[in-house]
Amino acid sequence: MKDLKIIVCIKQVPDPEGPSSAFKVDSEAKKVIPEGIPPVINPFDENALEAALRIKDSAGCSVVAMSMGEKPATPVLKKALAVGADELFILEDEHFKDLDGYSTAYVLAAAIQKIGEYDLILTGRQAADWNFGLVGPILAELLHIPSVSVAQSVNVGDGKVVVKKLRKNGYEIVQASMPALVTASSEIGDLRLPSLQAIKDARSKPLIVWKMADLELDPHRLEPRKIDRLSPPPSRKRDCIFIEGESLQEKGEKLALKLQQDKVI
């Protein structure tokens, strides 16, 4: 039997776990400049990659990681190979600078069509930088395949993908014929850590770079993200009254008294 092929779309972002002070807002240039925090794979894309690797563990399949950008940081993306992806495709071109979600999905769709056969595409539910959440569903539209969003778990079998999909209260088990696209939520769990041996092995895994000229793309459909204004977030600062006391018990009691005094309770 032919092996299943899963394509996982990943994006690098400044580490969203970084403190607020690490995100400098340049309103003039309309850019957020991360200071002192490293680029990482978008956490939801890591969840998507983990979902793909679990399918690989249980059912056996090949996992292809794919990323697009003007100058993607290859060492960051190579983590995908170290944790178990079989191939890494990097779509890299000066024309891919700061593309909006529609154009990003368009480029990814062209690359996926060039790869040809695939069974499942996994993406994160949204990226930690611009937070639009467009690429997954639009990619599915462009490829004319079904999609299921905010997955808590993903399983495959009999040409179908079965997804535990998050709903407002509870969840739903949804099935779709493959090829299909699924967007991953954090409930899937963290991406595994690579072993030292796996990091070494990753060096011999295929890393394929495609430029704009390698893909069938209409340059007029590549639009950069148009930002009208960018500003720091509204202040959330409140004047905190610290409850002091000799012991933690005393602090607990004083907290209740203070809340009563201020008519909060």
């Binding site: 969203p16 995100f23 957020v32 959440g133 999609s147 808590q152 998050l166 088990i173 148009k226 500003s231």
Partner: protein, 332 residues
């Protein structure tokens, strides 16, 4: 020359056979834009046997489009996207407003793609620029560490609105026009099948008067009993008191996703929010910043949460909370 008045279309969302709070927030946002730009406020109600609630919706909009079909009984993106595409092609709205809710994470981008327009998701502000007539859509970016505004140069302008950034719209005594719209859906459009629906407990953090929430600092699942006890005693003071959490406790599987507060979880504006062992990352704060009073209990005096709290206690929650509870009992 006579021009037909342009339309703002909002997608009504239901919850337990009634309209969800986000529906009235969308209507408020829509009615403000409509008044500003001289447009008609229209709403779409999708569902199975929604005739009656659509009549009620007429008290909130100038036009109500009713898309009533047995296949709309549960949300399925292929059907909803198809139906709304037909409606948009028919009534040609200038602005389409939807809630930034779980279902719409999939529906809104697909609809935008099909009708050939652009969508700005998770907006917290919508303003018409007087000089240009541009609709500026403002959304938090970089985990709520910056705020960006975008104008959409295609039509219709599509937006999803973050819950809880607006008050709900007031009911009008007048009634708008109700139109039944046949969206010509059929089962063959479906590419996914819902095998099973597993309802979790019904939680509405957005309606809570007080919330006690735990974060990474709760450390052990046993620690949740302190939070639950605190919730019990707070019920003497507040009507609806709920348990909430930041992402680590959700991902650990200790607390169901429906109780997550933050950027990718629920948004709530309770009278009282008590954050226990929550560090105060901007992604979490974005779900609770509208709380009237915030109390933080954390062992780390440097925790960012204290900068956004009204009251702070530095110390181990396991020792602070029992004494806090005891005093609350005495005072009630």
């Amino acid at each position: 020359m006579h021009q037909e008045q342009k339309r703002i279309l909002i997608l009504a969302e239901k919850e337990d056979e009634l309209f969800a709070p986000i529906t009235f927030e969308l209507l408020r946002a829509g009615s403000e834009l409509a008044a500003n730009a001289g447009m008609k406020l229209c709403s779409a109600v999708l569902g199975c046997e929604v005739g009656e609630i659509s009549e009620e919706m007429a008290h909130f909009s100038d036009e109500v489009y009713v898309l009533d079909h047995p296949l709309f009984a549960v949300f399925q993106v292929d059907l909803y996207a198809h139906a709304l595409e037909q409606l948009c092609r028919s009534i040609d709205p200038d602005i389409v407003l939807m809630g930034h809710t779980l279902d719409n994470l999939d529906l809104a981008p697909r609809l935008a793609c099909r009708i050939g327009t652009h969508l700005i998701t998770d907006c917290i502000g919508l303003d018409i620029e007087p000089e240009t007539g541009h609709l500026l859509c403002t959304k938090p970016v970089y985990g709520d560490n910056a705020v960006a505004s975008f104008a959409i140069d295609k039509r219709p302008r599509m937006i999803t609105l973050r819950p809880k950034v607006m008050e709900g719209m007031e009911r009008r005594t007048t009634k708008g026009k109700v139109t039944h719209f046949d969206s010509a859906i059929e089962e063959s459009l479906l590419r996914t099948e819902v095998l099973e629906t597993i309802p979790g407990e019904s939680v509405s953090l957005d309606k809570a008067d007080a919330i006690v929430a735990g974060g990474r600092g709760v450390k052990a699942i046993e620690g949740l009993k302190h939070l639950e006890e605190l919730i019990e005693v707070l019920k003497r003071y507040y009507g609806k008191v709920e348990l909430g959490a930041s992402r680590p406790l959700i991902d650990a599987g200790w607390i169901p996703s429906s109780r997550q507060l933050g950027l990718t979880g629920e948004k709530a504006n309770p009278e009282l929010y008590i954050a226990i062992g929550i560090s105060g990352a901007s992604q979490h704060l974005s779900g609770i910043v509208g709380s009237k009073k915030i109390v933080a209990i954390n062992r780390d005096e440097q925790a960012a949460i204290f900068e956004s709290a009204d009251y702070g206690v530095v110390g181990e929650y396991e020792a602070v909370i029992p004494a806090f509870i005891k005093k609350l009992r005495e005072l009630s």
